[in-house]
């Protein structure tokens, strides 16, 4: 992907993190085959460090209060996309009433992908489980039926095909974090790789 004629904007737009370029399309990145999860078998499982489990079927997720965040997203492969519109459930809703002393969460996905985040980064209106994009059901290539959306971190943290969260006392690096990528991934501090 070439920065092309976006180069001038790249240096002047305060909404663009360092080293990123703006794209208008929506690149599809994937580390494996796209899982196809029938909605009648889909579930989201939140497991605490003590073994308690909270489960939502698709119908139960849909019955929760829905939000429509419009956010900028930043991929570690250097593209950023402004003003993306999603529909889904805030993690604040899913974590409400969950008794935990965990400091970290590891998201896991249908297909085996994992990624880790501090639990605080999933709270206070910073993260969602989204199932809609641009007013339509989220396409499988973009992570449907549902994906995590954590737009203030590089987009590899927004796990596609999300299946659940494990709340953990210790930080447990995920798929890319164990292969050289940064543990936290703040695009504004350009935390791409370990040690950045």
């Amino acid at each position: 992907m070439s920065p092309g004629f976006q180069g001038r904007r790249r240096t002047t737009d305060p909404a663009l993190p360092p080293g990123q370029y703006l794209t208008e399309d929506f690149p599809v990145l994937s580390a494996g085959p796209t899982p196809r999860v029938p909605l009648d078998r889909w579930e989201f499982v939140l497991a605490t460090e003590t073994g308690d489990e909270f489960r939502w079927s698709w119908a139960e997720l849909m019955a929760l209060p829905q939000e429509t965040p419009t956010v900028d997203i930043h991929c570690v492969t250097r593209w950023s996309k402004f003003g993306t519109s999603w529909q889904g459930v805030s993690l604040d809703v899913l974590l409400d009433g969950v008794d935990t002393a965990a400091d970290y969460a590891q998201a896991h996905s249908y297909g085996g992908y994992t990624t880790n985040l501090p639990l605080d980064d999933l709270r206070d209106g910073q993260a969602w489980v989204v199932h809609g994009y641009d007013g339509e059901p989220l396409p499988a290539e973009h992570g449907g039926p549902a994906r995590l959306l954590v737009p203030h971190l590089y987009f590899w943290k927004s796990a596609k095909w999300v299946r659940g969260l494990r709340l953990t006392v210790e930080d447990e690096p995920g798929f890319w974090e164990t292969a050289g990528y940064h543990d936290y991934g703040d695009p504004w501090r350009e935390q791409r790789y370990q040690g950045d």
Binding site: P27, L29, A31, G32, V76, A179, G180, Y181, R192
Partner: protein, 97 residues
């Protein structure tokens, strides 16, 4: 009898340099997940991703991850129990003890 001891990791430099400089596509790998043995050239590689992800053609589990930063690279082979690499005939490591 002399007490056995370990060697500094620097001694791996030569043997690994010889190993890692070879054409990996000529190597055979064993999948840690399903046990299938086959050519590394037969892996299915997802490249439109933050790194290269090589998956077993039999079970689709990850056998290889290669991440390239501008000044560093990471090679994760935990999904492969071994790589068998064709080598020029020479004395094996370690040498006969």
């Amino acid at each position: 009898m002399t007490e056995m001891s370990y060697l500094d990791g620097n001694m791996l430099d030569g043997p690994l340099r010889e190993l890692l400089a070879v054409d990996l596509s000529a190597a055979t790998g064993r999948c840690a997940s399903c046990g299938m043995v086959g050519p590394m050239a037969g892996l299915r590689v997802w490249a439109h991703a933050p790194g290269l992800v090589g998956r077993c053609p039999s079970c689709a589990e990850v056998m290889l991850r290669l991440v390239r930063a501008p000044d560093r690279a990471w090679l994760d082979l935990r999904g492969a129990t071994y790589l068998q690499v064709p080598m020029p005939t020479a004395e094996p490591f370690p040498r006969p003890l």
